[in-house]
Structures are given as C-alpha cells and as structure tokens.
Symmetry: C2
Subunit: 143 residues, 2 copies
Amino acid sequence: MTGNHPKPISPEEAAETLRAASLRPTRQRIAIAERLLDGRARHVSAEQLRDELVDYGQPMALATIYNCLHQFEEAGLVRPVHHAGDAVLYDTNLCDHHHFVDVETGELIDIDPGEIILPELPDLPDGFEAETIELTVRLRRKS
Amino acid sequence: MTGNHPKPISPEEAAETLRAASLRPTRQRIAIAERLLDGRARHVSAEQLRDELVDYGQPMALATIYNCLHQFEEAGLVRPVHHAGDAVLYDTNLCDHHHFVDVETGELIDIDPGEIILPELPDLPDGFEAETIELTVRLRRKS
DNA sequence: TTACTACTTTAGAATCATTCTAATTTTCTT
DNA sequence: AAGAAAATTAGAATGATTCTAAAGTAGTAA
Ligand SMILES: [Mn+2]
Ligand SMILES: [Mn+2]
Ligand SMILES: [Zn+2]
Ligand SMILES: [Zn+2]
C-alpha cells in the first residue's frame, strides 16, 4: 500500500470537496464523491462504479457517471489509467506511483513509489515537456 | 492518404519469414509482412496499415488485417502497445525499449534503451512472474 | 418565495475499435 | 486435379464511450 488511510467521508464533506473543486454538489456527484474520495486507493471503471452506486441505493445514468468521472479528472480528484483491458480505470491514488497489471484479469495493483528507483529520464524531444512518467509491469500467473 | 513509405522487403523474403513463423504465406500476409517487417521501427494501427496497403495496391478486409496482426503478434513479429489513444498500435521494434507518447496526437516515439537506466523491480506478488516492463513518458507540447 | 437562467442529468442514439459469423476462396497435400 | 484444412471476406455484433436534445435541478436576484 501507499500510506493512504481510509477516512470516512460524509455527504457534507463530499459537498465541500466538490465546492472546493468548483463543482456543484449535486446528488449524483455527492454520491460518487462519497464512494471514491474516502482516501482508499482504488482503480474503478465506470461500469464498476455504477454497480457500486446501485448497491448503495444511488443508481444513476451511465452517462452521468462518465460526465462526473471526467469532471473529477479535470479537477484532479481522480486519475485515469489506460493500461488494463478495454475500459479506462479511474485511480483514486493521487500520489506518484506505478502499477502491476495482471494481464489475465486486467486488475491493477499499486507499486509503492518507495519500492522503486525512478530512472534517469533521457533527453526529451525538443519543444515537449514531460507530463507523467508511468512504469507498468505486466504480470502473468506462474504455470 | 498517400504517404512516403520506405522500400519494402521482397515478397520472397516476406514469404520465407512467414514460413519460419509457421504461417502460410498468403497474398495478404505477404503484403503485410513486406510493409511491417522491413526492419524499420514503427508503430501502426490496423486502420493506418489498411490505408497503407490500399496505397500499395493490396487492399484487403479489415478483419484480415486484424487476423494477421494477431498472428504476427503470436509469432513474435510485432508487439502491441496499448498506451496511446483508443486504438492499439503494433510496434515493429522488438528490442526492449520504452516510449514517449505525445498526449495530443497519440504518436509514439521510441526511447533508446541505452538512454535509460532500468529501475530495480520491487518484489512481485506471489505466484506471478513479470512478462513485460514498460516505461511510458507522456509528453505535452510546451506552450 | 418566485422567477430566471445556467448547469446537470438522462434515455437513447451514435460512434468507433475490435471481434464474430458464416459463406466463399485459397493453399497445401495427395 | 481433388479433397481437406486453413484463410479471407462482408457484414453483423459487441462493448466502451460519447453525443443529443429534452427534462430536471441548483444557485441567485428580485
Ligand atoms: Mn486498449
Ligand atoms: Mn483507451
Ligand atoms: Zn494506482
Ligand atoms: Zn516502440
């Protein structure tokens, strides 16, 4: 793990976080924030999040979930990861970190940044700046 | 549409490579091998490859291109890269190497493995072995 | 509160990469 | 050349995501 400790989040806290991000605290955004912004490091797809919201008695349109995830992303509340399977996973771990990917299941496992020595970067192409540096280790179950 | 493409390998060479990979040298596979296996390091999507084959007077069904790319992948002749945009790119550079990704265009640029110091890997989860280790540096054009 | 307006949600359609199906064609072997 | 196996193909299907445009909601000023 990465040292993130679960901190339960109330609807009021969720609303406050949303306001701080200049997002109107709608019922839908609050429900999503309550689930995703509790400090736990997770990787969820839009569909997984929908199932979870149904379980919690807050079903909503899939389009709304996509809308909210994009807004949360823009606000820096979640980060998309494109490496596993077909669906984008949204990462609630905002620290710099890397991933193991189970190639069979597509599941992501965080690599603690303390456990890895970041490599020296090569010279970047002219006119570009590095936005993110991501190490992905694809894992396969030993036979 | 019509771009500058380098000189391909000969159909005979392509057919021989295919036989060595236990793939029947069909007209379609030969055409694809001629374009992709000329030793140049490239990153192509299925659709880009189709356009190129049309330019070369060897149009074929998109399904065939997908079939062939999968077979080439299984034979170790190309490697898929999933990091850029929505479409999978097939990499003809089989050496261990890493990638810059232009986040605007999705274009991949190889990072010479000599230019980078591979990090020490952390302990893998029990029962897994590392299949690939991939470093991706996302680049954004300086404003 | 009311009214206004901008923002948000929503169902369903559309899009796009990719995969599947089932029929036809080609390759390889006798 | 003939038969069996493998490959190609058009078009349909799939699945994640985005779009559309209509209906609902939230913030705000009167
Ligand atoms: Mn993908
Ligand atoms: Mn993607
Ligand atoms: Zn993560
Ligand atoms: Zn490459």
